[in-house]
């Protein structure tokens, strides 16, 4: 029980940090390639603590993104939900993948996420068709091994 409490705390801290990262302005060039850190965390926690970070958690995270940035409530919420659902479905396999394979899976999940956001954008108005829009998929996937390294060593240190 104590352990589940401590990972709950870690989840809260990392989520808040990722939310702040999401709205922190970066220099013009880097800004468009800003990785979706919160989504990566949702994937990570769905794999690492699936019974604490469930679908409701993912949905809340997406909704939080909608509140702080989005033009529409529910857009990122549903995208996060779908990604978390797929992660939960794949979790037993994904956890055993070697890191490069896992990164590749995350890459596809991020691409799917961007596509859903893009799609809903297109429904509600003129969507941005700039290719730069897809760069977060690449930066996010590249960030994945680093994130796993940091969070894993943190959870081992806490154990």
């Amino acid at each position: 029980m104590a352990d589940s409490g401590s990972s709950g705390l870690r989840i809260t801290i990392t989520t808040l940090m990722a939310l702040i990262f999401a709205i922190a302005p970066l220099p013009e060039l880097v800004n468009q390639a800003k990785p979706p850190l919160l989504l990566l965390l949702v994937i990570y926690w769905s794999l690492s603590a699936p019974r604490i970070a469930g679908l409701m958690f993912a949905w809340m995270c997406g909704f939080a993104i909608d509140v702080v940035q989005g033009p529409l409530f529910g857009q990122h919420a549903i995208a996060y939900l779908l990604i978390a659902y797929l992660t939960h479905k794949l979790q037993l396999r994904m956890r055993l993948y070697p890191i490069y394979h896992q990164t590749f899976t995350v890459f596809w999940l991020l691409a799917l996420y961007e596509f859903i956001v893009f799609w809903i954008d297109g429904i509600i108005g003129p969507a941005v068709t700039d290719w730069m829009r897809w760069t977060p998929v690449v930066t996010g996937a590249l960030l994945w091994p680093l994130l796993v390294g940091i969070l894993d060593s943190w959870s081992r240190a806490r154990r």
């Binding site: 029980m1 589940s4 302005p25 800004n31 702080v68 409530f73 529910g74 549903i78 700039d130």
Partner: protein
């Protein structure tokens, strides 16, 4: 390889299956999107939530504020002095201009009195600061630090020292969101200052470019023409500088010329903007107005526009039924 944190809760009997939960939440998000997009039922909720997440915005602001404070504290005497000299020079120049302006205002008032027209410009302004918050890199929206507590309202014009910046689209208690004139969902009714030709300047999604898609190839416009607001939308008061024409391309086989303009307001540089309250009497009396926003604008923005129909609007019926009357 992700390590699994041990979890002592039982595997069996932990709520409904994954698929069912997914389904319920997905339906909930779709319902949210429909209510938010179609009806604008979420405005109150949104304003509450924005007020609630304001501490988060404050945290994001901190490093920038700290930097400003430090550079302010350590900037040397010499630099402050040069800045001071420069500012007083600018002030002197502005005063001289203002003297002339006063005379003109007086003359204007006299002429209006002769014609029994409305009394001069009754305007009030308030300085707001643009928060260092990144809303969406592809949408030209910014957040300012003045909200409904200061009387900010939806559809309020926002200016800076050089021209029109945009209009307020969402308001909560302590902040507001402003759509810039360069956003591709925004359009500004303008007038060529030289000869009074009216048109609409549509944002392009590029911060340095507006397009004027509704000028025919015969229209008398040329590069370096100043575009001022025409005031026909009932949102932006007439006569404020908007943009400078940069490019006019006339293809003899086309009906419309390709006209581009550069916004005069420093959309990506100014940190301080002016919120403007205009005395409604000075606005023209509800003419057949072009819309302030492009046809495909989202309803929350669209309801800020005053008019619903215009020759340029392809789908006038897209306006939300709950459109409030223009202020």
């Amino acid at each position: 390889m992700v390590t699994l944190s041990s979890d002592s809760r039982p595997i069996i009997g932990r709520g409904p299956p994954l698929g069912a939960r997914f389904f319920v939440l997905a339906v909930a998000s779709i319902a949210l999107m429909v209510f938010d997009h179609r009806g604008g039922y979420m405005d109150v909720t949104r304003s509450w939530l924005h007020t609630a997440v304001n501490p988060l915005y404050a945290v994001v602001q901190l490093p920038g504020q700290l930097w400003d404070w430090m550079t302010g504290g350590f900037s040397d005497r010499g630099r402050l002095r040069t800045e001071n000299t420069q500012l007083s020079e600018e002030l002197r120049a502005a005063r001289v201009k203002l003297l002339r302006f006063d005379a003109l205002t007086e003359e204007n008032r006299r002429l209006r009195a002769i014609r029994n027209a409305s009394q001069g410009m009754g305007e009030r302004t308030l300085i707001a600061e643009i928060m260092r918050v990144d809303l969406d890199p592809y949408r030209h929206r910014v957040r300012i630090n003045k909200g409904s507590q200061d009387g900010v309202f939806k559809g309020q014009p926002v200016l800076d020292a050089f021209g029109i910046v945009g209009q307020v689209t969402r308001v909560d208690a302590i902040g507001a969101e402003v759509i810039l004139i360069s956003d591709d969902e925004h359009a500004t009714p303008v007038q060529v200052n030289r000869n009074g030709i009216r048109s609409i300047a549509v944002g392009s999604g590029d911060i340095n470019r507006l397009t004027l898609p509704f000028l025919t190839i015969e229209s008398d416009v040329k590069p370096d023409d100043l575009l001022v607001s025409s005031g026909l939308d009932g949102i932006f008061p007439a006569g404020y500088p908007v943009a400078m024409i940069t490019k006019v391309e006339r293809d003899p086989s086309a009906t419309f010329a390709v006209v581009e303009a550069r916004p005069l307001a420093q959309l990506d540089r100014s940190r301080e903007v002016l919120l403007l309250w205009v005395d409604p009497a000075t606005l023209p009396v509800q003419p057949a107005t072009p819309p302030t926003l492009a046809p495909a604008a989202i309803p929350s923005v669209e309801s800020a526009a005053s008019a619903t129909t215009a020759p340029t609007t392809a789908t006038p019926a897209t306006t939300a039924p709950t459109t409030p009357p223009p202020p």
